[in-house]
Structures are given as structure tokens and as C-alpha cells.
């Protein structure tokens, strides 16, 4: 007699823990043939607010980590993902992806993490400047994370879209609340387990599943979210979210993009979620004209 398989409960990821949605609701993800694969959490507005609280709590400490350390942690995520590749591919196959597409999706996701891991301790050198002001001041501009970022992961890309939006945000010292792909949420939840095993501090990444029309407006209008990132959503949806974002002047980015392309990664994805801070300090005039030999 064949063995009874132990099925996995797909929960959400908030503040480094795996709770069920507080709403107690679910939606069923089915295979291509229509067989039920998982009962995924249908998150509520309250889940969104809880996730924002967790992300805010984690933000200061994450931003204060050494850039080098953030790079190591991002690289660690890539290592963990590489080790569990087959699990992700199986999930995609069960959803009807071809072997080739599933393989590419996961391979590129790992590459992307490695790419942004390498940026952590470099981007600030490129986007910062020392400004030669006319007065006797030392003046420099450097980048700081915007804070807590709301992300709508690309619906059509189960893992690559999510990672492509998430990695530049956390590489730059932000913390995030991610609304996963609605149609393909399994990889997102399994990825939370990878994050959990990669020394990513709790709250830095929070992943919710469910209906965007329920969660996204709450996230976009939340007064403690600093910026909002969406990709490949409809023009109408994007406009309504932009309007939601006005009340605290969130920075709003909607990328229309194919995440499989080489140009779908880059320094500017980090830069979009950074604030430029300029610091001035007087320089003492002590003469010294003769010291130029």
C-alpha cells in the first residue's frame, strides 16, 4: 500500500513567524487539471496592518546592519534557495508550468538574489557625492532607505517577480510587506521558509497571500508605508492605488516589465527606494596657505 503523503499548510509570514490569516478565510489553489493543491490564506486588512507594524519595528535595525552584512544575508538567501530548488520547481510543475519554464523561473530568481547581494555595499558609493560648494563647508550627499515598502509582486511570475521587487528594497536597508502573486502564491510561501532559514531578521520581509483588491488598497493607503511598488498591474488598478498613496505622499512606482530580461535588474531599482540626504558642516579656516608644498 502506498504511503499517505503529508500535505503542507501554506501560511503567511509576518514578523518572522508563520501565522494563519487572522480572518480565518482561505482560497483554494488548484492544479491545471483542477485538483486542489492547497488552501492558501485569504489575508485581511488587519493582516496587512499587522505586517506593517512588524516591518516598521524591524526597519531601523535592518538599516543599521553593516552593508556588508546585508550582502551576506542576501547571498545566504540565494544559497538556501539553490538547495531547495527542486521543491520550488515541483510546485510550479503542479501548477502547470513546463519543466523548462519552471527551471528558468527558479534559476533566474537565484541569480537575481546573488546580483543584488553584491550591490549591498556598493550602491551608496555610486549614488553618493561630495558636493564642491562655494562656501567653506564640507558637503556630502548619501543615500538612506526610504523605510517600509509595500510591494505587489508580479501576478504572472510566481517567484522571480517577487524577488526582483523585494531584493533591491531590502538590499537598500528597507523592510517590506509583499502581497504575493494571487494566482501562484505557493512559491511565495515556500520562499518565506527560505528567508526564515537565511538569517533574515524577523519583520524585514513579510509575505501575505490573498486577494489584491482586498489587501492592496489598505497597503497603498497605510500612513506608515513610505513607498509602494507594483509591477504589471492594470492601468486602472495602478491609478486607484496611486490615489490611495497620496495622503502621506508615498513614493509610487509601477514597473511594466518582463522580469526575465537582463535589463529587469539594476542599480536604479535600488535607487528608486532611497532618499538622498545632504549634510553640511563648516570647515575651519586656519590659514595654511603655506602648507601647499
Amino acid at each position: 500500500m502506498s504511503r499517505i503523503e503529508v500535505l503542507k499548510t501554506y501560511k503567511v509570514y509576518i514578523g518572522g513567524q508563520f501565522p494563519r490569516t487572522e480572518s480565518g478565510r482561505y482560497h483554494t489553489i488548484t492544479s491545471k487539471k483542477g485538483e486542489p493543491l492547497a488552501n492558501v490564506c485569504l489575508c485581511s486588512r488587519k493582516d496587512v496592518r499587522n505586517a506593517v507594524v512588524a516591518a516598521r519595528k524591524a526597519q531601523g535595525a535592518w538599516a543599521e546592519r553593516a552593508a556588508f552584512n546585508r550582502g551576506q544575508i542576501l547571498y545566504r538567501i540565494a544559497e538556501m534557495l539553490e538547495g531547495r530548488k527542486s521543491q520550488f520547481i515541483e510546485e510550479l510543475l503542479s501548477l502547470g508550468f513546463t519543466q523548462k519554464n519552471a527551471q528558468t523561473e527558479i534559476d533566474l530568481s537565484i541569480e537575481r538574489l546573488v546580483y543584488y547581494a553584491g550591490w549591498c555595499d556598493k550602491y551608496n558609493q555610486i549614488v553618493s557625492s561630495v558636493n564642491p560648494v562655494s562656501s567653506a563647508h564640507f558637503n556630502f550627499s548619501t543615500c538612506e532607505p526610504m523605510g517600509v515598502i509595500g510591494i505587489i509582486a508580479d501576478n504572472n511570475s510566481p517567484l522571480l517577480g517577487l524577488i526582483s521587487s523585494l531584493a533591491p528594497a531590502i538590499a537598500g536597508g528597507n523592510t517590506v510587506v509583499v502581497l504575493s502573486s494571487v494566482d501562484y502564491p505557493l512559491n511565495a510561501v515556500t520562499f518565506a521558509e527560505v528567508l526564515h532559514a537565511s538569517d533574515v531578521p524577523g519583520g524585514v520581509v513579510n509575505i501575505l497571500t490573498g486577494s489584491l483588491h482586498e489587501t492592496a488598497p489598505t497597503l497603498a493607503s497605510h500612513m506608515d508605508i513610505n513607498a509602494f511598488v507594483a509591477s504589471n498591474i492594470s492601468h486602472e488598478f495602478s491609478t486607484s492605488l496611486q490615489l490611495n498613496a497620496v495622503d502621506n505622499l508615498k513614493r509610487f512606482f509601477h514597473y511594466t516589465i518582463d522580469w526575465n530580461q537582463q535589463n529587469s535588474q539594476g542599480l536604479h531599482f535600488i535607487g528608486d527606494l532611497q532618499e538622498v540626504k545632504t549634510t553640511w558642516h563648516p570647515i575651519e579656516q586656519i590659514g595654511g596657505a603655506t602648507s601647499s608644498y
Binding site: T278, T279, W280, H281, P282
Partner: protein
């Protein structure tokens, strides 16, 4: 005894003989001066004595449309011009502005009420330098955006405030032109004159017609510009409320925006700070330009153990400030920009008193005519006081004390704004701690209210987004791929 009684100064008035102003100004559209379609004009008033200076055109929707069309028509050839040639036009503008700097300074002071010392030594030179700085960028954009294709956005609609009229025009126009965009600029209704003088300079510089269009008017003019379908970019400096209205108006249109909005900036004095310099910094932070400064250091935080000393010295220093005719070179605090703004400030002062704060204003004779406000301190205020929370945009300072660095960081950041901050301490490690902890786009350490074309300026949170000035200011006007 008041210092001013002991050592009175003789008036030292700047001459207004060498300026040339028309009685009536048309709109500058497509390289020509055209009468407004509306047929309406409004007076520009000298806030120092309420005299009438000139009549200004009130542009309506149709005028805005003409200006945008002119800018659109000029865009292909302007963006297609060799960048080094574009640069030369900007250098020309900078040079002519330098040549006419005294005239510009006097007109700025007449029209806006700021002390001549400030318009002459700060506003006008900074405006010239801004053109000079961005001129040089025009043919070097590939260095600013490595590995990216750089293109201009198209037509930029630009709306500027009344506190630094010419300087804001320069902040907006110079980077837009350097990157190959064409421009429709609307100055604030109380301070149109230096923008119109700049239009004359642009004409004199021989800029191709339609590259810069300057239209004057009120909020309805600005609104028509924001909502015009053929604008690619909105650059706005002004209040946070209007900034949000603009954001709502352009949601879903694909128009890019940079917003430089309000502030309620903290100026923090630690007990090891050089007190006399800090007091100068406090005065410069809040009374510079009558406090009509978005980044004004309007919330003072003094460490508790030196509070009495700082407040005593600050009051003494305030007694020696000259409030009066802005054309007088002795004047420290000029005229409030408009009657309306004076009313706003006065209402905040009465709210402050009503809410129980202790007020201090030095004794000082104000001119009989014109709009003037005494430099004002509010002591014994809490975070919950209206005068601590809201931007007053006048010479009104609130003073709070603190004991620990954690406490002052929390208090300083406890505002929806995030434009600027000041820190006064002798300890370098503390400066670096604070500059990272304060959520503000500009941090002045042991100085305040310093500006430079090379230095990016702009805010966090509800103080807006995008930067103006420096290499970072270019990003606001380019499409990258």
C-alpha cells in the same frame, strides 16, 4: 537698554533708480509678449509700503494651452540641439543675470519684501550660479547616468512659490533646459516680476522661441497647467496641501512629478555647542527671509541644562534685529510677503497664545504702512501645540527642551514633514549619529540655511520627493532606459 537706542543706525537705502519696470506685463509665450486671453490683469504690490508696482497678466486655460503648445513645438529642435550648444545658451543666461544682478536684487526686494541684503547676497547670486552650474551638465549627462540611455521628458510645467521667486525659477528652469526639456513656468501671483525679468533675459540671450514660456496668474492658472494633457512633467514648490492636490490630479496620467513642499524643521542645540554661533544659527534658521523658508528651523530644541542661557542670549540678539524697510541695507527682517500671509501668521500667533504658550517679541517700531511681523518666540510649548505641529511660514520660533539624544531624535522626527534639520554640537561622532537618525533631506551641522547649486535639496515624507540641485537634481528631468 535696547541696543538700537544706544547705537541707532542711519538708514542706508538701496537706490531704485537703475531698474527698469514696465507698467504692465504681458505673458511670455513662444518668444513673444502676448496679452492674456482673459483680458484680465492684477496688481503686484510692494509689501513694504503697499504701493502698486505693475500690472500682471492673469493667464487663463487658453493662455496655458498656447504656452504648452509653444513648448511642445519647440521641444524637438531644442532636445535635438547639440548638448554643447544648449549649454552655451544656459551660460549666456547666467552671464546676463550676473550683469543685471543689482537690478534683479532690487526688483526682488520691491516685489517680495525680502531684505536687500538677502536678495543681493543670496537669492540673485545663487540663481545665476544655478544656471552656470547646470549649463555645464548639458553635454556631460552620460557621466551622471552611467550605463543608461538618457532622454529628456518633454514639456515641463513648473510652478514656483513667492518666497524665493527668482531663485526658484532658476532651480526649475536650469536643470530642465540642460537636460533638453522645454518649459512653461508659472511664478506665484504676489511675486511675478523677477520671473518676467528673467523672461526678458532669456529673450536677450536669444533662446529659441517657445523653449521657455512664462505665464503669470493665480491658482487657477497653475491648475490649468497641471491638468494640461500635453505636459510630461510637473515640478512644484509650495505647500504640502497643494502638492497632494497635484498628486491626485496627475495619478494615472504618466506625468512625472517632483514636489518640494512644506517643512517644520528641527534645530537642535546640545550643551557642548558653541553657544554664540548657535544663537546666530537659530536666528538665521528662523528669521532669514522673514521665516518664509520651507526649510526654516522653526522648532528649536535646546538641551535642558543650557536652555536658560540660550534663551537669554537669543532674546538679547532678537532685540538687535532691525525690522523695517527691506530696501534699507541695515534691515534684518523685511516685509511679510502679502497681507494674506501676514493674517495667517498672526492667526498662528493668537492660536499659540490661546493654547497657553508663553510669547516673547522684542520691542520694536514697525513701519506704519506695509506688512510687518515682529520676530516671535513661543516658550513652554509641547509637541501637541498647534504652533509646534503646523508650518507657519513666518518669523515664529517654538522652543522645547530635551535631556537625552534619544528623546530629541524622537521629538524631531515626530512630524509628517522631513525637509531639513540643524544640529549644534562640538562632538563629531554625535553629528554623524544624528545626521543618519534625523529623517530629513538636508542636515545642517553647526550651520543653518546654507544653499548651493551643487548641493541637492529636497525632503523626506510629506515634504515631497525628488531633489533639486547637484547631480541628483538632473534625475528629475530625464527618462532613463
Amino acid at each position: 537698554m535696547k541696543n538700537k537706542e544706544k547705537w541707532p543706525l542711519s538708514p542706508s537705502m538701496e537706490s531704485t533708480q537703475h531698474i527698469s519696470l514696465k507698467k504692465q506685463y504681458a505673458l511670455f509665450i513662444d518668444g513673444k509678449w502676448v496679452a492674456p486671453n482673459s483680458g484680465k490683469y492684477f496688481p503686484s504690490i510692494n509689501p513694504a509700503d503697499e504701493s502698486h508696482i505693475a500690472d500682471i497678466s492673469h493667464a487663463n486655460e487658453k493662455d496655458v494651452d498656447l504656452a504648452v503648445r509653444a513648448a511642445r513645438k519647440a521641444f524637438p529642435s531644442w532636445s535635438g540641439l547639440a548638448p554643447s550648444e544648449r549649454a552655451k545658451y544656459l551660460f549666456r543666461i547666467a552671464r546676463i543675470m550676473q550683469e543685471k544682478s543689482r537690478e534683479l536684487a532690487v526688483i526682488e526686494t520691491l516685489d517680495g519684501g525680502k531684505p536687500i541684503r538677502e536678495s543681493r547676497d543670496i537669492d540673485v547670486p545663487l540663481a545665476c550660479n544655478h544656471f552656470f552650474y547646470y549649463a555645464g551638465w548639458a553635454d556631460k549627462l552620460a557621466y551622471a547616468f552611467p550605463n543608461r540611455q538618457v532622454e529628456p521628458l518633454g514639456v515641463a510645467g513648473q510652478i514656483i512659490p513667492w518666497n524665493f521667486p527668482l531663485l526658484m525659477a532658476a532651480w526649475k528652469i536650469a536643470p530642465a533646459l540642460a537636460t533638453g526639456n522645454t518649459v512653461v513656468l508659472k511664478p506665484a501671483e504676489t511675486t511675478s516680476l523677477t520671473a518676467l525679468k528673467l523672461a526678458e533675459i532669456i529673450e536677450e540671450a536669444g533662446l529659441p522661441k517657445g523653449v521657455v514660456n512664462i505665464i503669470t496668474g493665480f491658482g487657477d492658472t497653475g491648475s490649468a497647467l497641471v491638468n494640461h494633457p500635453d505636459i510630461n512633467k510637473i515640478a512644484f514648490t509650495g505647500s504640502t496641501n497643494v502638492g497632494k492636490i497635484i498628486q491626485r490630479a496627475i495619478a494615472g496620467t504618466g506625468k512625472k512629478a517632483t514636489l518640494e513642499l512644506g517643512g517644520k524643521s528641527a534645530n537642535i542645540i546640545f550643551d557642548d555647542a558653541p553657544i554664540d554661533q548657535a544663537v546666530e544659527g537659530i536666528v538665521n534658521g528662523i528669521f532669514f527671509n522673514q521665516g518664509h523658508v520651507c526649510c526654516a528651523g522653526s522648532r528649536l530644541f535646546v538641551q535642558e541644562n543650557i536652555a536658560d542661557k540660550v534663551i537669554r542670549k537669543l532674546k538679547l540678539r532678537m532685540k538687535s534685529l532691525y525690522v523695517g524697510n527691506p530696501l534699507d541695507k541695515n534691515t534684518d527682517i523685511g516685509a511679510i510677503n502679502s497681507k494674506e500671509q501676514l493674517k495667517t501668521i498672526e492667526s498662528y500667533i493668537s492660536i499659540g497664545k490661546k493654547e497657553g504658550a508663553e510669547i516673547y517679541q522684542p520691542a520694536c517700531d514697525l513701519p506704519k504702512k506695509g506688512f510687518y511681523c515682529l520676530p516671535t518666540l513661543f516658550l513652554h510649548v509641547a509637541q501637541s501645540h498647534t504652533v509646534v505641529q503646523e508650518e507657519i511660514f513666518g518669523p515664529v520660533l517654538t522652543i522645547q527642551t530635551f535631556r537625552t539624544i534619544d528623546e530629541v531624535i524622537q521629538k524631531a522626527n515626530n512630524t509628517p514633514y522631513g525637509l531639513a534639520a540643524g544640529v549644534w554640537t562640538d562632538k563629531g561622532s554625535r553629528i554623524f549619529n544624528l545626521t543618519t537618525k534625523l529623517k530629513a533631506g538636508v542636515v545642517w551641522a553647526n550651520t543653518y540655511n546654507k544653499f548651493d547649486p551643487t548641493s541637492p535639496f529636497g525632503g523626506y515624507k510629506e515634504s515631497g520627493f525628488g531633489r533639486e540641485g547637484g547631480i541628483h537634481g538632473l534625475a528629475a528631468y530625464v527618462k532613463l532606459s
